[in-house]
């Protein structure tokens, strides 16, 4: 159930500078738990005190923002890629 996780530069202090790491879990919530076991503290940067995704972080499973899927309950089957990206924007 290995999933590749792309780590933003802002969180690479937790992964020893690695931009891509692996973790496992049936859902995004499980995956983040596993990630935190390997890289303690990283989950608290992605989730707020209530355990929800922080407002300014976007998490993608494949190319889809999990806010359009099932948020933390989004399935993360083996072979998929998860990306964690700070929210930024252009336009007006």
């Amino acid at each position: 159930m290995s999933v590749s996780v792309r780590v933003p530069t802002i969180l690479r202090t937790y992964t020893g500078g690695e931009s891509e790491v692996t973790a496992s879990g049936a859902t995004l919530a499980d995956l983040l738990e596993d990630l935190d076991t390997s890289y303690p503290g990283i989950k608290a940067r992605i989730l707020d005190d209530n355990g929800a995704l922080r407002r300014f972080v976007n998490v993608y499973v494949g190319n889809d923002d999990v806010r359009f899927l099932d948020n933390l309950a989004t399935p993360t089957p083996a072979g998929t890629q998860v990306s964690v990206i700070p929210a930024v924007a252009g336009g007006c």
Binding site: P8, Y60, A89, G90
Partner: protein, 432 residues
């Protein structure tokens, strides 16, 4: 501490506001970056997200005393406000597109059509690449220079790509611009003419934005204007507010209507008004700020009307592509500002966007793009629904040029008649 260059990993800088390693005065009167959410301090550098909570970083300043006379003696571009921007004092010496100080047009014909007593259009279609983006890009270019960037880049809905490509050419720095592949053809041409590195991405703007964020994390020496130098870039929009106040005779308007994509521009106009008040450059007075969206991408308007703070991202479906940001990073701040100032956020459908374009063109001779059509159309709706007070002085911001979005209205306008080259044929049309 070593110099915070673009090879530096953002977020791991010590918690300091030290500018060690940067050229003295590289960012003018800016003293550091601060998280808008939790207040965490970060040094000036290529940092855009709070290492504690991912919140957006804002530029903090220690402004000296600034007088109206000093500003008025400056150049007729945004650098007249350089003391209020994160740029060095010698900014005018570096080649740039010198944007800004666009006209503030008293729009009495449009005012009459909308039933508003006093109305102005801040017309940013007259900037060097015909949109307000030249302002923000000029500030981002300064930051890129100071951070010794090798590549000047952006993900864009079009106008930004135009501005980045042109500014990079003028500055002699390599540019790479990323756009959604379905972008209006004129906007693609308007970028490609300045750069041989236009990259069309199969996806919407949010997909392009995600890709750019990933590239910014992998490639060294790249300054993505709205990613890793975003705090400096966004400050350029303050100059819209400074100019409106100065051109009104150093006073604030009663009401302003501003298009909302990410929401950055609206928040910066508000910030500029607050700075002018604090610096004593204008008299403090109440003002109301309104946000304009197209219904096909209106997550902020939906949240405003629902009375909630949480903004639910949407998949954009509108002709107003420069406003088609489904996950607006500054949306919650737009809600705060519009609610606090007594304004509102409203949206209109694409037909009303086209009507807005035609209304501005036929009342004031200004050919706006779809974002401007949205602003005009929303202003009309705000008056009709009693949300905007027609007796108060109102400014609307036109952010871009209609020649870039011809497809939006090309089937709505055309020759009124096709005739033989004779007077009789002309007379028969009834146009005389």
């Amino acid at each position: 501490m070593s110099a915070p260059t673009l090879t530096h990993v953002e977020g791991i800088t010590p918690d300091t506001t030290s500018r060690t390693g940067l050229r003295e005065g590289a960012f003018g009167n800016a003293t550091g970056l601060a998280c808008r959410e939790c207040g965490h301090a970060v040094a000036l550098g290529p940092f855009y997200a709070c290492p504690e909570c991912f919140g957006p970083l804002e530029v903090a300043y220690d402004f000296p005393a600034v007088t109206r006379e000093e500003i008025e003696a400056g150049p007729r571009n945004i650098w007249r406000y350089k003391a209020l921007l994160p740029v060095p004092d010698d900014i005018e010496q570096s080649p740039n597109t010198e944007p800004g100080f666009t006209r503030l047009l008293e729009a009495s014909n449009l005012a009459a059509a909308l039933g508003i007593e006093k109305l102005w259009v801040k017309d940013d279609s007259t900037n060097p690449t015909n949109s307000f983006k030249d302002r923000v890009v000029a500030c981002a270019l300064s930051a890129a220079r100071e951070l010794d960037a090798k590549v000047f880049a952006c993900p864009s809905t079009g106008n930004l790509a135009n501005a980045v490509a042109a500014a990079g050419a003028r500055a002699g720095i390599k540019t790479v611009v990323f756009i959604p592949s379905n972008l209006e053809h004129p906007k693609q041409v308007n970028s490609a003419v300045y750069t041989d590195s236009l990259v069309a991405v199969d996806g919407n703007y949010d997909d392009v934005n995600k890709l750019a964020s990933e590239i910014a994390g992998e490639e060294e020496g790249w300054a993505f204007v709205n990613v890793n130098v975003r705090p400096f870039y966004a400050e350029g929009s303050k100059t819209l507010g400074y100019e409106i106040a100065e051109q009104l005779g150093w006073r604030l308007p009663d009401q302003v209507v501003i298009p909302v994509a990410s929401g950055s521009q609206l928040t910066k106009v508000h910030k500029s008004f607050q700075e002018l008040i604090k610096l004593g450059l204008v008299e403090e007075k109440p003002y109301r700020i309104f946000g304009a969206q197209a219904t096909g991408c209106s997550p902020v308007s939906v949240a405003y009307k629902a009375g909630v703070d949480a903004i639910r991202p949407v998949k954009p479906d509108t002709i107003a592509k420069s406003l088609a940001i489904g996950n607006p990073a500054d949306g919650i701040y737009v809600l705060d500002i519009c609610r606090e100032t007594g304004g509102a956020v409203e949206d209109i459908d694409d037909d009303a966007v086209r009507e807005g374009i035609l209304l501005l063109a036929r009342t004031e001779g200004i050919f706006t793009e779809t974002a401007g059509g949205t602003t005009v159309g929303v202003t009309k709706k705000l008056v009709e629904t009693g949300q905007l007070d027609p007796t108060l002085e109102t400014v609307i911001i036109n952010t871009g040029m209609g020649l870039k979005t011809l497809d939006a209205i090309s089937d709505q306008v055309g020759a009124a008649a096709t005739i033989a080259p004779t007077y009789a044929a002309f007379a028969a049309t009834g146009i005389a």
